[in-house]
């Protein structure tokens, strides 16, 4: 059994591609997360970085971070207040634009 995780691909009004993730990410489903992320990046029509929307994620751990780090060159991240410290501590915030959505 893997931890439940849902993905939605959308675009913002400005045309930025968005991968919205909801649920929890840990080592049991980080491969799914990576798979979806690669897919979303592959389907991009522009060079605009993919916005990974983690505001509906309740939990993520180092397995999820590993996936994000793999794609630092081509993503930006929206996150919630709860996850913000983790992204900051591991240094992701330093190399990827991270917005905290309140």
């Amino acid at each position: 059994m893997t931890t439940p995780l849902r993905f939605t691909s959308t675009e913002t009004a400005e045309g930025t591609p968005v991968l919205k993730v909801s649920g929890e990410i840990d080592m049991s489903n980080s491969d799914d997360f990576n798979h979806e992320l690669r897919g979303a990046l592959a389907h991009r029509t522009t060079e605009t970085p993919l916005l990974v929307d983690l505001t509906a994620v309740d939990y993520l751990d180092s397995a999820a971070l590993a996936v994000l780090f793999e794609h630092v060159a081509s993503i930006t991240v929206d996150t919630n207040k709860m996850l913000e410290p983790i992204l900051r501590i591991c240094g992701l915030s330093d190399i990827v634009p991270v917005r905290v959505i309140r």
Partner: protein
């Protein structure tokens, strides 16, 4: 209203009875179709079938019988009995239970039957079991009582536990009551005879000392067959292993019908390190299986038995030793004082008259004179022997009064040797005295040194027949070395070790005389030792012997108070006895026996003292008088007066004109002194004329002679005066002789209290002899202490004012020792002077005083031991008493247990073993090895201690002698102390036993997590009591919490407690709330003797929400310590103690326990102290809980029990229960990624219950998630399927998560592990403290964070 109930719901489960009930044709019975059953019956049946406990439902007029699977064993062959009328099922006990059931039916009130004995075959044998039945009413839907619900609980373990505890207490109560081994065995048999239910038969067999033979000492039966039964006694004794025996002949069954089939044969262990003392046979009741609990009970019985017998043995040994020591001491003292008194007095009375006879019979028959000489010589010899023995007794008692003065040892030794020259040369031996001057004087006591030299020389002469004797003196470094060598017969090598042993005579040798006591060399050795020196002997048989004495120079080795200036003492002329004796060994020479020429016809050699400043005149007078008298000559009146006072002469011949003190002044001084008032004085003067002679005679002179005088005239006058004085002084001389022969001190006081006369014994006793007279008050022997001086002053006042009396006072001798003197005195009138004088005797009662002191000390030590709560306290207390008895600087005790480093106790608390000077450590270590209870060294003794050996050492102030009476006292006190320590140890063991059994009554107990409990019996007297705690796991996950306190102490209270606890438990299990539980308990308590007024706190806790519903029956309020440091008392829901008002409504209160708060429930023993308000105690406890809110509850429970305990331990028993919300989280999961999410969710829930701030909760969640991921990924990558455990614990400000797996982590290496490395980084950043410990057995990750305040 009735509602149809589906059968599956009324009869749930897969058990036999559920199946039977579902199949039963109910509609054909009076109970009717289950579909029509009232809700009460249906519910009761459902509870009955789902319960693990035996339960019965009786229903309807016939009390139809419904029961569950758990009840089957109790029903036995009566099964199946479903729906049968109760009367038919239990016909044999219906007369008991029938009326009880009826009463429930009629009154609607619950009732109980307690601890029913039910012989039951459960495990293949007829077993003694006890059961408690409760009978509660069952109502139909109209509220009418239609049936009875019975819950049955197995109380066998409790009943047995209490009964066995009583047996052990009964045995324990015997401690100290047996004075003999037989009595101890008899008491054990009597006690076990009363315990037939648990020990139907017991026989104590004791080892015959020194053999492995065993003798039956006592048994619980007089039946000869049973007593003669064979057991593997010897095997158990020698192997030290218990044996279980089966298949023996019939034995008494105790209270059980069937005779025992099993018995345990156990060794009775001796004191530590000793052999087994015997074997005890304990039969087991056939009604109980010989399980582990029974085994341990029987082992405790054997232990108690052994302890009682050992105590009796120890008591006997101790008693005997104390008696022997006292007897020995007494015999020795008596012996030596008898010698002095019985020998010296007759000796004085033999020697005195003999001297007179020798002088008086100068012209008599030579044969007569020869015989007189024999008497005289042997008298001297006997005197010498008695004096030597007395020297010994003084040395032994530490009373040898040495006076060390710096002496030119070369000169002194040569002089002493010179005395023997004539005798040695007369024997035809060469005599070499080789004593060159030494670089420094040597400190010697002249009298002792003389004895040393004379003894060695007389010894040499006695055993030497050819060759010679040599005395040689040399300096050797720090020592003067004296060698006395001879070329005599030598000493056989085999005898050398015993050469200096007292009373040991070497029989084989040839000697000049067979006389000898074998005491001379022993005395020499003692005397040399007193000088800080040593003596050795070197001998070869046939070639000779050399004695070598080494004495240190300087004064450092000698007690300061015994040092005297040079020349301050005169050597006693003790040579005569030695020489006389030695000369007798040699062939006689005729001229030696010649009588003294021209002895004065009227008596022995009278002593004449000449005082004249003119040397020529002095010598002339000496020449004239010497042939007839013993003459002493001095140059002036002062010297004459001193000489006369020390030894009054028969006549003084004095010049009138002299410096310092002239003749007339001398006469006046002599007459003024009672001791010399009677000495005749012949004055010589150059002044002629009547006036001068009248002046002289008026001054008190007896005669007057004018120079120049004719020699014949002088001799005639002297002779006349001596004659006259002899006649006049005849009585006085006898008086003096008698007084001098007195062993008691004798004194005469003048009217002003000055001591004007004393005898020799007085001088020997106090060190203040006749030479120092008169002694004015306050006399020099008055002690320094103010109170003692006051006492003496009062006694002196009595002496002067009362006609006679007796009193005892302390005095200080010249050498600084403390004596106790008994003085008796009388007033008499001096017939010469007409003055009143006081005559008295003093007796040394120091020994008696010590005896009293000994009694007092033994009493004091006993009191300290009785008051001590443990071994350490006992040892420390006794040490203080010992210190006070001896006025020691400190007293040290060292206990060696298993370790090489002993536990040190000192009256001076600053000292530890490590800081102790090595020499003292060596002293204590040596003591440890020394024989038990025999004082050794300066002041030490080894004792037996329950944990090993104890060495005890008194650090006495310098030069404080440790005499024989001190040793006896130390042995006596040591014996008492040793016994006391064992007694305390025993009490301590009994306490542990009692506690174990109380816990057995309270347990077995599975404590839910988050709780901690403690129980402690009252400390003094040691007593279990009626306090209890309990937690009950309820069906829906809630937890029942009970803390209660029955009135009273001891087993009775414990028994009541056990019943109330069971009842309360059962009531809570029936899902009654706290108030209802207590109300039902009221009813029960009213029927139970001793249960009234029990206080109970009863609560039901929801561990998920922290909601606590509670009700208190007069119990002290619970304490709630909140995370912000605030405290509140659980004071609501209060009402009266149990059974005070049966049937009254009880209130209930609810309090939600906030996260990280702690609840303390307790009994009043924890907080109640004499002379202190209960509120103060509760405040103190509450504060302690708040202060401990940061430590885990189990540690907190331990801390509370010790920090709140009063100094002597709890006066009442104490039960305590702690809970902290939420309870720790414990989870195990299989190491697989799929399990991470559920674990995380459970942790998240728990963190919510902990009420952590959100970011912190998330941080903990992520860190713990990383730890779990690591465990899954690394620990179990190679071996999937292992278990990982996660535990989480919260205190008020601290949270800890531990993840343990059974794999081993690999350190991050390749790129693969990049994100694992990130995981570790996350953990470290998110938590305050992270530790990862990898061991071969697995990896433990410990995460720790401080909870930030909101």
């Amino acid at each position: 209203m009735r509602s149809p109930v589906p059968g599956g719901l009324v009869f749930p489960g897969n058990g036999e009875m559920a199946a039977r009930m579902r199949a039963y044709p109910w509609s054909e019975t009076s109970v009717g179709d289950p579909a029509t059953w009232p809700a009460g019956l249906a519910t009761a049946t459902r509870i009955c079938l789902t319960s693990r406990f035996p339960m019965i439902v009786w229903w309807g007029e016939e009390l139809s019988f419904l029961y569950n699977d758990a009840y089957l064993p109790l029903l036995g062959t009566n099964h199946p009995a479903l729906a049968k009328p109760g009367r038919e099922v239990w016909s044999e006990i219906w007369h008991i239970i029938g009326p009880m059931l009826r009463s429930v039916m009629e009154t609607g009130e619950a009732t109980w039957s307690e601890d029913l004995l039910l012989p039951l075959v459960r495990h293949g044998y007829l077993e003694e079991t006890y059961w408690t039945y409760s009978y509660s009413p069952l109502h139909d839907d109209d509220g009418v009582v239609r049936g009875v619900f019975t819950a049955v609980s197995d109380t066998t373990e409790r009943v047995l536990g209490e009964r066995r505890l009583a047996v052990l207490r009964d045995l324990g109560a015997l401690a100290g009551s047996a004075r003999t081994v037989d009595e101890a065995c008899r008491l054990v048999a009597e006690a076990l005879g009363r315990a037939g239910a648990d020990v139907p038969f017991a026989a104590v067999h004791l080892r015959r000392p020194g053999t492995d033979d065993l003798v039956l000492a006592s048994a619980t039966t007089d039946d000869p067959d049973a007593r003669a039964r064979e057991w593997p006694l010897r095997e158990v004794l020698t192997t030290d292993r218990l044996q279980v025996v089966e298949g023996f002949g019939p034995l008494p069954g105790g209270s059980w019908d069937a005779p025992p089939t099993q018995a345990v044969v156990l060794p009775l262990r001796g004191e530590i390190g000793g052999q087994n003392i015997g074997v005890v046979v304990l039969a087991a009741s056939a009604g109980r299986m010989l399980d582990e609990a029974y085994h341990s009970f029987l082992s405790l019985v054997a232990q108690q038995t052994a302890a009682l017998v050992n105590a009796a043995v120890a008591y006997q040994v101790q008693q005997r030793r104390a008696e022997e020591l006292a007897e020995l001491d007494r015999a020795k003292t008596t012996f030596f004082s008898n010698i002095s008194h019985e020998f010296r007095t007759p000796l004085a009375l033999i020697l005195g008259p003999t001297e007179e006879l020798r002088a008086g019979l100068a012209d008599a028959d030579p044969r007569l004179r020869e015989e007189l000489e024999v008497i005289h010589r042997n008298g001297l010899r006997l005197g010498k022997l008695v004096n030597t023995l007395l020297d010994f007794s003084r040395i032994e008692a530490g009373r040898m009064r040495a006076s060390y003065e710096p002496v030119d040892l070369a000169v002194h030794t040569a002089e002493l040797a010179g005395v023997f020259r004539s005798a040695i040369e007369k024997a035809g031996l060469a005599f070499e005295v080789d004593c060159p001057p030494l670089p420094a004087p040597v400190q010697v006591d002249r009298g002792m040194w003389e004895k040393v030299v004379f003894n060695l020389l007389s010894n040499a002469l006695k055993f030497t027949f050819d060759g010679g004797v040599r005395v040689r003196l040399r300096a050797d470094g720090d020592h003067a070395v004296v060698e006395v060598s001879d070329t005599g017969i030598g000493v056989p090598a085999s005898e050398m070790p015993r050469l200096f042993e007292r009373f040991h005579r070497i029989e084989s040798g040839r000697s000049r005389s067979n006389e000898g006591s074998g005491i001379g060399l022993a005395l020499v050795r003692e005397l040399v030792l007193l000088h800080g020196g040593e003596i050795t002997a070197d001998s070869a048989e046939g070639r000779g012997t050399t004695f070598t004495i080494r004495v240190p120079f300087g004064v450092a080795h000698l007690p300061a108070e015994h040092l005297a200036p040079a020349g301050s003492t005169t050597a006693p002329s003790g040579a005569n006895p030695f020489l006389q004796e030695a000369l007798r060994w040699l062939p006689a020479e005729p001229d030696q026996q010649a009588p003294p020429a021209a002895a004065p016809p009227t008596g022995g050699p009278a002593r004449v003292l000449i005082a004249d400043d003119n040397a020529d005149m002095r010598e002339y007078l000496e020449r004239l008088l010497r042939p007839f008298y013993e003459v002493t000559a001095v140059p002036d009146g002062e010297d004459a007066l001193a000489s006369a006072r020390t030894a009054p002469p028969d006549l003084i011949v004095s010049d009138v004109m002299m410096p310092r003190l002239d003749g007339l002044q001398l006469v006046a001084a002599l007459r003024a002194d009672p001791r010399t008032a009677g000495v005749p004085v012949l004055l010589l003067s150059a002044r002629a004329g009547q006036e001068a002679s009248i002046e002289g005679l008026e001054a008190g002179a007896d005669d007057y002679l004018v120079k120049p005088f004719a020699a014949a005239e002088l001799l005639a006058r002297v002779r006349a005066n001596v004659e006259l004085a002899r006649l006049r002084n005849h009585h006085a001389r006898w008086r003096t002789a008698l007084i001098e022969s007195l062993q008691e001190g004798f004194f005469v006081c003048a009217e002003d209290g000055s001591v004007i006369e004393v005898n020799g014994a007085f001088g020997r006793m106090l060190g203040y002899g006749p030479e120092g007279l008169p002694y004015h008050q306050p006399a020099p022997w008055w002690p320094a202490e103010a109170d003692a001086r006051e006492h003496i002053a009062r006694m002196l006042d009595r002496t002067l004012t009362e006609a006679g009396g007796t009193y005892t006072t302390p005095v200080t001798t010249r050498d600084g020792r403390r004596l106790w003197l008994a003085t008796s005195f009388n007033h008499v009138r001096d017939p010469d002077t007409k003055h009143t004088v006081i005559v008295g005797t003093v007796r040394d009662v120091t020994a008696e005083h010590f005896a009293v002191q000994r009694e007092t000390a033994v009493g004091a030590v006993s009191v300290r031991l009785a008051g001590a709560a443990n071994l350490t306290e006992a040892l420390a207390g006794a040490a203080e008493e010992l210190r006070d008895v001896w006025h020691a600087r400190r007293v040290l005790t060292a206990v060696w247990g298993d370790s090489d480093v002993p536990t040190l106790t000192s009256t001076d608390p600053a000292i530890t073993w490590a800081t102790l000077p090595p020499s003292i450590r060596d002293t204590l270590t040596a003591l440890r090895e020394s024989p038990l209870l025999i004082p050794v060294g300066d002041a030490g003794i080894a004792l037996d201690h329950p944990e090993g050996r104890v060495a005890l050492w008194l650090d006495l102030s310098e030069h404080r002698p440790f005499a024989q009476e001190d040793r006896t006292l130390l042995a006596l006190l040591g014996g008492h102390l040793g016994q006391g320590l064992h007694r305390i140890h025993q009490v301590d063991q009994q306490r542990k036993t009692a506690l174990a059994l109380q816990h057995a009554i309270l347990g077995p107990f599975h404590l839910p997590t988050g709780f901690a409990v403690r129980y402690e019996p009252a400390a003094r007297p040691l007593e279990v009591g009626g306090d209890w705690y309990d937690t009950v796991a309820l069906a829906d996950g809630r937890i029942g919490i009970v803390v209660g306190d029955c009135v009273g102490h001891g087993l009775d209270a414990a028994a009541v407690m056990g019943q109330l606890r069971s009842a309360c438990r059962a009531l809570l299990l029936q899902d009654n709330g706290p108030a209802r539980t207590l109300m039902a308990l009221d009813v029960f308590a009213a029927t139970l003797s001793g249960a009234r007024c029990t206080t109970v706190f009863c609560g039901v806790l929801n561990p998920d929400t922290g909601e606590l519903v509670y009700s208190s029956a007069g119990h002290p309020p619970g304490i709630l310590s909140l995370p912000d440091g605030a405290r509140e008392l659980l004071e609501d829901g209060r009402s009266l103690p149990l059974a005070v008002r049966v049937g009254a409504h009880r209130p209930e209160a609810t309090r939600v326990v906030p996260p990280r708060a702690t609840i303390l429930l307790y009994t009043d023993g924890l907080v109640e102290r004499r002379r202190r308000s209960l509120v103060t105690g509760i405040d103190q406890a509450a504060q302690a809980v708040t202060e401990g809110s940061g430590v885990p509850v189990d540690d907190l429970a331990t801390d509370l029990m010790s920090s709140l305990a009063p100094p002597g331990g709890y006066e009442d028993d104490v039960a305590l229960l702690l809970y902290r919300h939420p309870a720790p989280l414990e989870m195990s999961f299989t190491a697989a990624a799929a399990h991470l999410a559920p674990v995380r969710h459970a942790l998240r829930d728990w963190l919510t219950r902990c009420d952590l701030p959100d970011p912190q909760a998330q941080a903990v969640l992520v860190a713990a998630g990383e730890a779990c991921s690591n465990a899954v990924e690394h620990g179990h990558r190679d071996t999937p399927g292992r278990t990982v455990t996660l535990s989480a614990l919260v205190t008020v400000d601290d949270l800890r998560v531990t993840v343990v797996d059974t794999g081993s982590w690999k350190p991050p290496t390749g790129t693969d592990d990049d994100h694992r490395g990130r995981g570790l980084l996350l953990m470290r950043e998110l938590m305050d403290d992270v530790s990862v410990v990898t061991e071969p057995t697995g990896t433990t990750v410990d995460l720790h964070t401080r909870i930030s305040p909101r």
